[in-house]
């Protein structure tokens, strides 16, 4: 889904920016620059040692503010601990200043220590999410009066593929470790190995208080340093009875707070875009109905797919009273769980927590990976309520009973590694030389079946042999920061004479949905989409969109007129270029079938099947689709462009939203299946079902055809 795609893209973006803007730590950490700065001890340095320019006034202004942060009081203590230990756990609640200050402390300390001033070194600081990495690096750059690059933790993992001991780095800082993203957890295991082999490398793990002891135990009993946060007390309220409808209850509570409580902004946690937009409309309407007895409100939505300019709105101040001396205005932010940890909004005094979030789930048994609305954990509830106490004492209204809090919420959110498809991770680990997955030191080892599925997929794709060794094909696939199925599709696309087209399709699949469907112009948007539609499948529709975008010179107003998202297409184009570079590196030919040939689309569809033969659904006589081998009932997502119900389809995702949907589907033929993937469609190893009987016939026909052609010869 959205976030999943976003994650993949962010990897690319970082690669790009890292090479384009160059990280300051690397570029400016070199010998020449070091030479300039020799005046550090005592007094205030007047020249910025990182770029040799005099400090701006702004630098000094910010410096004064920085010094009031709680973490500054422990600067000496931190630097000593860093000097004495290889690994350090730093625990600090939001507001302690750890995220922005620690990287700078580290940089200073390492710089002073650095013996060989000509040798380049780097301090890597990773953030689980791109938005956060961007805003942190922007802030740190501002504080240091320099420009700077950023890093998402998945990126460091890819670096390890070419630099297994991460020798470019002197210190690695893992921020927001408590979030336990998939990449963080894999990095943990990897860094544990690297630390053993590189006594000079230092690791700082930063986390909110939760689970800090667990980190300590995992990292050889590393010392734990606590930084107090700047949190005001937050009163917590519960409902008396479970709510019939949490959205309705949230809206009701917002209106009540606005009417009865003293000034202060409100933050409401909801689960997704649709729900959030719905709530924004309803609240605005409700408040408008109350006339001028109450103050004006500014209702602001916040979710990851919102354009950046819209996201900035959350930082605007609350509206001023409509009449002088009238009731105060209020800002009401309705957000997904992005506002739980990664984004901090000052001025929030009231938090409304319905207790749900969209969370990724993966189940290897039915092979479904989807975002599902699920109850949050106690730890999350705690984080959410803390958001009310950033600027002054606050209140948190939990839309569930205290009994439910105690009995129905699990203590911690499951780390992502327990909720993810690990096919890509296993391929990366294999590439990193980690062959024994059973004994790899995971902080929370994944379920065995999740690894089995990953190994199975990689084996059927030909990336691993039966002994689990990485094949030549697997080596190449691992270089693509994509799901193995897509990697395989790209690698074989030259053989099907359509690698140009497959590149475009892969790029389009790697970015957020490019179709825009505004509420006020749904019909027009649907008509626009239909113009791009290809009756044989959504993948081909995406290809049409990409081609049209290029033919219209990537024009922004063309995008607007045709209801496609310019940003998405631009980043698809960017992704495509990077994928093309990887293709070139492995001498994979870029080619196309003649557009006028009837094989043009057939070749594309065959190449896609060569990657996605494990994601196939068969149309049963009853009229519904069953996924192959798992026999799960699924439906074509209503967004599909097909004009018919094909007997066989490949799909990009299997998601559980309002129904069990397969999304982004393309028609494939049974004959191709038995030709391209007979090893997977091995009937000796196939559950009894309608699809099996159809396949039996297809195999027989194939035998017969072969015989006939032999006889003819």
């Amino acid at each position: 889904m959205g976030t999943e795609r976003k994650r993949k893209v962010s990897l690319f973006d970082v690669v790009d920016e890292a090479t384009a803007t160059a990280k300051v730590n690397k570029a400016n950490g070199g010998g020449a620059v070091h030479g300039i700065n020799t005046t550090t001890t005592g007094g205030m340095p007047l020249v910025n040692r990182w770029n040799g320019r005099p400090y701006s006034q702004r630098y000094y202004d910010i410096l004064e503010k920085r010094k009031t942060l709680p973490v500054w009081h422990q600067k000496e203590e931190f630097l000593k601990a860093l000097k004495d230990n290889q690994t350090l756990i730093l625990v600090g609640e939001t507001g302690s200043g750890k995220t922005t200050q620690i990287p700078q402390f580290v940089l200073e300390a390492v710089d002073v220590e650095s013996a060989d001033r000509r040798k380049k070194f780097m301090v890597g600081c990773t953030q689980p999410r791109r938005v956060a990495a961007m805003s942190v690096s922007r802030r740190v750059a501002e504080e240091m009066d320099v420009t700077i690059g950023e890093e998402v933790d998945g990126m460091l993992l890819r670096e390890a593929m070419t630099d297994p001991l991460l020798e470019r780095y002197k210190v690695i800082i893992l921020d927001e470790a408590h979030e336990r993203t998939l990449a963080t957890d894999v990095l943990f295991g990897l860094l544990k190995e690297v630390l053993k082999n590189r006594p000079d490398l230092k690791l700082v793990v930063m986390s909110a208080t939760l689970e800090a002891e667990k980190f300590q135990g995992y990292f050889f009993g590393a010392p734990l340093m606590k930084v107090p946060g700047r949190l005001h007390p937050v009163e917590i309220f519960y409902t008396q009875e479970p709510e019939r409808d949490y959205l309705e209850a949230a809206i009701r509570t917002v209106v009540q707070i606005h009417m009865c409580e003293p000034p202060g902004d409100i933050l409401v946690f909801l689960t997704g875009e649709e729900e959030i937009e719905d709530a924004c409309r309803k609240i605005t309407k409700e408040v408008a109905n109350m006339g001028d007895q109450v103050g004006p409100v500014k209702v602001v939505p916040l979710y990851s797919t919102l354009p950046p300019a819209m996201q900035q709105k959350i930082f605007e101040p609350a509206p001023s009273p409509t009449t002088e001396g009238g009731p105060a205005g209020r800002k009401i932010v309705i957000s997904t769980n992005i506002a739980e940890t990664s984004l901090t909004i000052d001025g929030i005094v009231y938090v409304i927590d319905p207790g749900f979030a969209k969370q990724k789930v993966y189940n290897p048994r039915v092979r479904v990976e989807s975002l599902l609305v699920s109850p949050i954990s106690k730890a999350s509830a705690h984080q959410r309520s803390g958001r009310a106490g950033r600027t002054q004492p606050g209140k948190c209204f939990r839309l569930y009973t205290e009994r439910s809090f105690n009995n129905d919420l699990q203590p911690q959110t499951y780390p992502e590694i327990l909720r993810s498809n690990l096919a890509n991770t296993v391929l990366t680990l294999k590439k990193l030389g980690i062959d024994d997955l059973v004994h790899f030191d995971f902080m929370d080892p994944p379920a065995p079946e999740t690894l089995m599925r990953a190994l199975e997929v990689l084996n059927y794709l030909g990336a691993l042999d039966d002994e689990g060794n990485l094949t030549k094909l697997g080596e190449i696939m691992s270089e693509f920061p994509l799901d193995p199925q897509m990697g395989k599709m790209l690698v074989v696309s030259s053989e099907f004479n359509c690698s140009n087209e497959i590149l475009s399709i892969s790029a389009m699949l790697s970015v957020p949905n490019c179709f825009v469907r505004p509420r006020e112009a749904q019909k027009a948007a649907d008509e626009a989409k239909a113009r791009f539609g290809h009756i044989d499948g959504d993948h081909l529709t995406l290809l049409n969109v990409y081609h049209a975008y290029k033919q219209n010179n990537e024009d922004q107003s063309w995008c607007y007129e045709n209801f496609v998202n310019h940003r998405a297409l631009k980043s698809a184009d960017n992704v495509r270029q990077q994928l093309a570079r990887i293709m070139a590196r492995f001498n994979l030919k870029l080619c196309s079938t003649d557009f006028n040939s009837r094989d043009y689309y057939i070749n594309i569809r065959k190449a896609m099947l060569a990657g996605y033969f494990m994601q196939v659904a068969h149309l049963e006589r009853t009229g519904h689709y069953l996924t192959v081998k798992d026999n799960q009932v699924v439906h074509l997502h209503p967004s599909n462009c097909l004009d018919h119900k094909p007997e066989w389809v490949i799909y990009n995702e299997y998601v559980l939203t309002s129904r069990n949907f397969i999304r982004t589907v393309t028609d494939v033929r049974g004959e191709w299946i038995v030709d391209i993937a007979p090893h997977y469609y091995d009937l000796e190893n196939f559950p009894q079902c309608e699809a099996k009987r159809v396949l039996e016939k297809l195999y027989k026909k194939r035998e017969k055809d072969k015989e006939e052609s032999r006889n003819r010869r």
Binding site: T239, Y246, T401, F442, E449, E456, N660
Partner: protein
Amino acid sequence: MAEEEDDYMGDLSQFLPSQSELSLNPPAPKVPSVNGGSKAANSQYSKKRPKIRNWQEQRKLKREIKQVEEDNRTLAGLESAIPQSNIGFKMLKQMGYTPGSGLGGSGRAEPVGLEIRRSRAGIGREDPIKEKLRKEEEMLWEKRRREEELMSDFGCRVKERWRNKRVVVNFHKAKGVLDQLENKEVVEVEKKDDDEKEEGEDEEEEVITEEDLHEILMKLRDDFQYCLFCGCQYESREALLGDCPGIDEDDH
């Protein structure tokens, strides 16, 4: 308008402060004054809803029920583990995996389960469709259970009535024997009394309980070594204990 506001105001007051918080911070948080209350609002809401569903709603309900069935099927798929014949299973086993266990000692053996929510019911509250289906099923069970109960109840009552009758009959028999043994001369008179009593059985029935019968049977045994059901007087206490199968009629 004013009414609505009352409800809103009242609603915030329906929130309860955290119990644990309360013990930490003695001054209880101030909440706006009660006025109306959410329950009133809720009941008002439910009153507004029409009882009779039109065909659209019925169709929607049907679809939702179908969805629940489909979800249950999906969830059933989560029960079956990946078989040992699977290549992925074999590959993991080659790496030293012990079937049935988790990894690294602390790892979980089973994948994290999933719950499908298709409504906006709050935490601690059941999905309305599932609740409806569950309640319907429960009602069906309840109905069946009640029928069964009714049937067995009927059987019980028949048995009970028969049993009570036996108690009364046996009691009178025993009483007759006792009287006979105590004073043979009253026999005839007593017999008549007996008959009279039998006629008035219905009113007297409740008076004679199993305990009464037991008491009189024990008296016969203790004082006269007589067992009503053996129909004879034993020579000695030992003979009674040895030869008589038991105190109650059922023992005989």
